[in-house]
Structures are given as structure tokens and as C-alpha cells.
């Protein structure tokens, strides 16, 4: 059990800098999701933590140890690969025994024929089998033990990969997009299973994914990474509600947050497209800004309840059963807004009809042209 710390980790491939000085402190027992679009460097970072790749500069610290020069097999970590990397020629049981045999049996005991003659081997193998059985029970895999990976479904293989990682009781689990090869329904199911597992084991989980929903639903903290830099590391709630960077705000949340260009005047008042104004004042003056409005913070109707609204034309409606997402273009501009609304409202708005969109409770997040967050005067974001 240990925390993992990354101190100014950099990595370059030739002249391309893939990781630009990553600093991260992961607490012991924490489930942290490393999330970002493809190519942002998150998998590289994970492999550097594992030791499968060497960083160009910076330190990786596990517990109290700086492990830069320590080879992967000595770092006491376990990894679940995207492709699971199960040994195809071994049964599930044998797959799970591999880490234990490598750790506990000596070189001679491991030899194919001669090793079986060593009496100490029998004793050790009994313990190995016991651990494997316990792990299989925990993952409800008992009936799969004698099968080979080729005979298993994707979800089953995933569980075996997790099982193989668990048997050694490592100080941290590294997971490289373990769910991305599964179909949607199975993915949702496995998310809760992995989260359950984390609660049971209380070990550090470092989980890499490009799916922001996975990151939000499973983790204690989310680390949003883009182009080799960590933009924000915070709880899922905070990353969602209080993004510090425009890119974070756009990446997190589905559907994507609406963004409209705007301007803040000398008095701190915000004006955006279609001369729509916000009541609250910003902590900035006389700048061009970007106003972010999440779909659930907007509403749409044929007629807005009070004066302030954006005139739109309805282009498309997404029926999600419990809600509708209405896509509408702001008149006179090319900007498209996605608004969450109730089914009755959406059904009452025909395609290509005119409607009005307004912000509910003025819940907006504002960013400067440098992508940095700008806050409102009154305490709340």
C-alpha cells in the first residue's frame, strides 16, 4: 500500500515532447482516473509509472522509494492491459498462478520436470493455489478456472486480467483503458464491478481512459490531461462544475458544453451572442471571453418566461426517453446550442420552428481567450 508521486516528469520521443512536466500526488488507496483525448500522453505516463518506459527527466516515487532505476518487476505494481495480454496457452488458473510462481518459487523449482521433484515446491504450490482460489471467488470466476483465454468472452477475459493483477496484492493497480474493448452495456456493468473491487481491496488504482463518463463515475479524483499536461486534478464533481480550463470544460460532460463567444465590458458585465446579457458581474474588465453553458443549465420554449433570451431555430431533437436534447441554431449566427428539456416541451417544438433559449439561474462558466477560467464577483462560480 503506498501512494504514488510524479515529480516534473517529462518525456520526449526524438524532438516531440509528449509529456511536459507532469506533477501529481496520488494518495494511498485512492482511485484516480487519468483521462484525456487520444494521444494526450496518458498511456505513456502510465507506462512510465510501470517502468515499461523510461522518462526523459523527472522522478517517479512509489511510497518512500524513488523508483527511476528500478525495473518494472521490482516496483510491486500490477497492470491490466487494454488487450488483457493473457497467456493464450495457459488456463485461467495457470494465468493467475504465473505472478505467484515467479515470485515465490526459486529458479530450480520452476524448471519443467526437475522442479516437480523438489518437495518445497509442493508446499509453495499449495499456497499459490489457495490464493488463486480466493481471488477467483472474489471475482466470481471459479467456474472459469480450467478454461483457456480463447474460450472466454471479452468480459470474462477482462476479469481474468484483473485477477492476475490482484494475486500478488501489489501496492497499486495500473489500468490501461481496460474497458474499451467491451460493448457498451458490458462496459457500464464492469464500471460498477471495478469500483466495487476498489472499495474491497482499498488499494491505489490508477485508471487511464479516454471516456470521461468512466472517469467521472468510478474515481475519487479525476486528472484531466491534454497534450502532455495535467490541466486539472480534482474530484469528479469539481471537475464538472468548476473547470479551471476551457478544454477541461469541453471534454468533461456529455453532451459537450455549449460555448458562445462574448465580451465583458468595463463594468464587468457579460454580453454574448445575440446581445444576450448575464446579470452577474465578472472579475475581469474589457476582454473578449468565451461563455460556457451546459445543456442542463439552459431551457427552451416557444416563448421565454422573461425578457432575456436567445432567438433560435430548432434543427434537431434527441430523444433519450426521460429527457430530450434539443439542438437549435442561434438566429443570425452559426452557433448551435444543445438544450436539455422535458419531453413535453420538446414535443411541442416542431423542426425548423422558432423558439427562445435562456439560461436558468445564470449558471455559466466563463473563460478568457487563453482558456483560463474567469470567476464571477459574487463568491460562487
Amino acid at each position: 500500500m503506498a501512494g504514488v508521486a510524479l515529480n516534473d516528469v517529462r518525456k520526449s520521443f526524438g524532438s516531440t515532447e509528449v509529456l511536459k512536466g507532469v506533477n501529481l500526488d496520488i494518495a494511498d488507496g485512492e482511485f484516480i482516473a487519468l483521462v484525456g483525448p487520444s494521444g494526450c500522453g496518458k498511456s505513456t505516463l502510465l507506462r512510465i509509472i510501470a517502468g515499461l518506459e523510461a522518462q526523459s527527466s523527472g522522478d517517479v516515487v512509489i511510497g518512500e522509494r524513488t523508483v527511476n532505476a528500478v525495473r518494472p518487476s521490482d516496483r510491486d505494481l500490477a497492470m491490466v492491459f487494454q488487450s488483457y495480454a493473457l497467456y493464450p496457452h495457459l488456463t485461467v488458473e495457470e494465468n493467475m498462478m504465473v505472478p505467484l510462481k515467479l515470485r515465490d518459487l526459486s529458479g530450480i523449482e520452476r524448471l519443467p520436470l526437475v522442479g516437480h521433484l523438489m518437495p518445497s515446491r509442493w508446499r509453495k504450490m499449495r499456497d499459490v493455489r489457495r490464493i488463486v482460489d480466493e481471488t477467483a471467488d472474489m471475482l466470481k470466476m471459479r467456474d472459469l478456472l480450467k478454461r483457456k483465454p480463447g474460450q472466454l468472452s471479452g468480459g470474462q477475459r477482462q476479469r481474468v486480467a484483473v485477477g492476475r493483477a490482484m494475486v500478488r496484492k501489489p501496492v497499486a493497480f495500473l489500468m490501461d483503458e481496460p474497458l474499451s474493448n467491451l460493448d457498451a452495456a458490458l462496459r457500464v456493468h464492469m464500471r460498477s464491478e471495478i469500483a466495487d473491487l476498489h472499495r474491497q481491496l482499498a488499494t491505489t488504482f490508477i485508471y487511464v481512459t479516454h471516456d470521461q463518463a468512466e472517469a467521472l463515475t468510478m474515481s475519487d479524483r479525476v486528472a484531466v490531461m491534454m497534450e502532455g499536461e495535467l490541466l486539472q486534478v480534482d474530484t469528479p464533481d469539481n471537475v464538472y462544475r468548476d473547470p479551471v480550463d476551457l478544454r477541461v470544460a469541453e471534454f468533461i460532460g456529455s453532451p459537450k458544453m455549449n460555448t458562445l463567444p462574448g465580451r465583458v465590458d468595463g463594468a464587468g458585465k457579460v454580453t454574448t451572442v445575440g446581445n444576450y446579457r448575464l446579470h452577474r458581474s465578472l472579475k475581469a474588465r474589457s476582454r473578449d471571453i468565451v461563455v460556457g453553458l451546459r445543456p442542463e443549465h439552459l431551457d427552451i420554449a416557444a416563448k421565454a418566461p422573461n425578457g432575456r433570451h436567445l432567438p433560435v431555430t430548432v434543427r434537431h431533437k434527441e430523444n433519450l426517453g426521460s429527457d430530450y436534447f434539443v439542438h437549435a441554431d442561434v438566429d443570425g449566427t452559426g452557433h448551435r446550442l444543445i438544450v436539455r428539456t422535458r419531453p413535453e416541451t420538446a414535443q411541442s417544438l416542431p423542426y425548423q420552428s422558432s423558439a427562445q433559449v435562456w439560461s436558468v439561474n445564470e449558471q455559466a462558466v466563463v473563460f478568457g481567450e487563453d482558456n483560463a477560467r474567469i470567476y464571477f464577483e459574487t463568491g460562487e462560480a
Binding site: G51, L52, A54, R71, P72
Partner: protein, 326 residues
């Protein structure tokens, strides 16, 4: 990091590989080197790689052209006043001068003159190319039919192909020889070529390849009015060039180097010898002084494929791998 990245490790690996390479190259070195040396150098094992290339006297040439009575008589006017014995000595001296040449020339010219090596090389070319050509002619349509056409008995034919893969042609040399003998066809080009015209391996390989060609391509050709025959040669063949190339390499190498079958089937007619047969015959009546020409013959036989290989290594190795993985 995984794996041996140490410089010492690399050096050791290279050491082992170099030792292996030396062992592998040894016979090639011997062959080439001794094809350049004189008989005395060969016997005494001196002269480095290329030999001293000191002019040597071809003893056989001298013996063959030894001046007889008539030559001595004819030379009398040139050596007025000398005895017959002296004239003969002088003539032999002149002869020795004429029969002097560098070892390289000696070896390689003997290689071509002692036996019709050029003819043998030509035979090798004719046989190898004919075999490959007919193999393709037979295999391609069959592979196409098995891969893309539906007909009753298709699985039977394919099963037969698989079964025939088990029969190494060298193993059935004897009955084939009898059949050919009875038909009076031994000592003919037909005997050298026909047994190899069916390459079940080729059929199998091409079929595997053809299976990957999209049906749409073929349907489009049909709709354009192409006959099935044209489809094989105008549509399937171009897409299968890599596999065909691999097969070509396989076939050409195997048949240029084949010794056993020609040995069985060419029993009297030297004109039909393939290069390995020619070399073997050379060895048959060689004495000590003929190691040089023998090595020269061997070099000439082995050179074409080796040079082709060196020029196109990647292709060769890819080809062999492709055929292997199937």
C-alpha cells in the same frame, strides 16, 4: 527497461553470430578461392584468398599438343642445323609458352571446355522456367475455381489437393521413372519437366491468396462481360503478384538446384544434363589437378541464385516466409 541493452551483451551476441557466419561462409570461401588458384597452390593450400595468380602452365594442354614427327619436320626450316631432339625441346618450350595462362583463366576456361557447361546452364534455364511457367498455367485457374467458383465436387477436389500435399514428389521417383521409361520418355526435356508441372503447394498458396480478393471485383469484371478465363489472367493474376513472386522464388530455387530427379531420369544423354548433373560428372572423372576447374564449375552453378538473392534479399526472405506461414 526490459532486455539486454548493455554494450557487453551486444558485443557477445555479435561474437557468437560472427563465429556462426564464418562457419556458414567457409565452403563459399573455399569454393571461390580455389576457383582462382593454380593446382600447385591448391595442393599446398597457400596463396591467401585470391592466390598469387602467377602464370602457370597447363600440363594437359602441353600433353595434348605434344609435337609429333610431322610438327618437328615442319619446324626444321626454323631451326636450321639443330638435331631432332633439340628441335623438339624448342617446340615444347614454345608450346609451354603458349599453354601458359593465369590460374583464373585456366580454371574457368577448363570449366567451360571440359564439359559443355554453357549447354548445361541453358538446360537449367529451360527446365526451370518451363516448370514454373506450366505450374502457373495449371495452378492459377484451379486455385481460382477452388476459391471463387461454386461447383459440385469442389470440396472433393480441394480435399484431394490437401491429400496430395502429403506426397513428396521425390518419394515417388521410382514409379514415375518406370512410367516414363515404359513410355520411352527418359532422357528428354519432358521427363525433366512434366513431373513438376503439378504443384499442389502452388495451388494451395494461390487459393489462400485468392480467397482474400473481394468478390465485388470479380462481379464487376463479369458484368463488364469478361469471361472467367480472362478474369483469371487479367484480374486475379495482377492482384496475386506478391504471392506469385514468392512461389516463383520457391520453384526456381528448388528446380535449379535439384539433383535427384535429373539424376534418375537422365541416364545417357549428356546434352540434357542440368547444372548439378554437369558438376557431378565433372567430379566423376576429376583427378588432383582438376580441383580448380571443379570449383570454378561449382561457382558458376551456384552464382546466379546467390547473386539474385543478394540483389533482392528482402523479396527472397519475404517470399520464403510467406510460403512458410501458409
Amino acid at each position: 527497461m526490459i532486455g539486454s541493452q548493455t554494450n557487453l551483451g551486444e558485443a557477445l551476441k555479435h561474437l557468437v553470430l560472427i563465429l556462426g557466419a564464418l562457419t556458414v561462409i567457409l565452403p563459399f570461401y573455399v569454393m571461390l578461392s580455389y576457383s582462382l588458384k593454380s593446382p600447385s597452390e591448391i595442393e599446398r593450400n597457400v596463396g591467401g584468398f585470391v592466390g598469387a595468380q602467377a602464370p602457370m602452365v597447363d600440363e594437359r594442354c602441353v600433353k595434348l599438343n605434344e609435337p609429333g614427327k610431322s610438327e618437328i619436320a615442319a619446324a626444321k626450316p626454323r631451326f636450321a642445323g639443330r638435331s631432332e631432339r633439340e628441335i623438339k625441346e624448342k617446340l615444347v618450350e614454345e608450346l609451354r609458352q603458349k599453354c601458359t595462362m593465369s590460374p583464373v583463366v585456366f580454371n574457368y576456361s577448363k570449366a567451360f571446355s571440359e564439359a559443355p557447361l554453357l549447354r548445361y546452364l541453358l538446360n537449367g534455364l529451360i527446365v526451370t522456367l518451363s516448370i514454373f511457367f506450366i505450374q502457373v498455367l495449371v495452378a492459377l485457374p484451379c486455385a481460382y475455381a477452388l476459391a471463387k467458383l461454386q461447383f459440385w465436387g469442389r470440396s472433393f477436389v480441394f480435399g484431394l489437393v490437401i491429400f496430395c500435399l502429403l506426397i513428396p514428389v521425390h518419394a515417388i521417383a521410382l514409379p514415375l521413372y518406370i512410367i516414363l521409361s515404359k513410355a520411352g520418355l527418359t532422357n528428354t526435356y519432358a521427363a525433366l519437366i512434366v513431373p513438376w508441372t503439378i504443384s499442389v503447394f502452388g495451388i494451395f498458396l494461390m487459393r489462400q491468396f485468392f480467397l482474400t480478393v473481394p468478390d465485388d471485383l470479380i462481379d464487376a469484371a463479369r458484368m463488364d462481360g469478361m469471361s472467367e478465363f480472362s478474369i483469371v489472367w487479367r484480374v486475379m493474376l495482377p492482384t496475386a503478384i506478391p504471392a506469385l513472386l514468392a512461389f516463383a522464388i520457391f520453384s526456381v530455387v528448388a528446380h535449379w538446384n535439384d539433383y535427384f530427379w535429373p539424376r534418375v531420369v537422365i541416364t545417357g544423354n549428356r546434352d540434357l544434363f542440368t547444372p548439378p548433373l554437369g558438376l557431378r560428372e565433372f567430379k566423376g572423372d576429376a583427378d588432383g589437378s582438376f580441383y580448380g576447374p571443379m570449383m570454378a564449375t561449382a561457382t558458376i552453378i551456384v552464382a546466379p541464385l546467390i547473386i539474385a538473392f543478394l540483389l533482392a534479399q528482402r523479396r527472397f526472405i519475404e517470399g520464403i516466409t510467406l510460403t512458410g506461414m501458409k
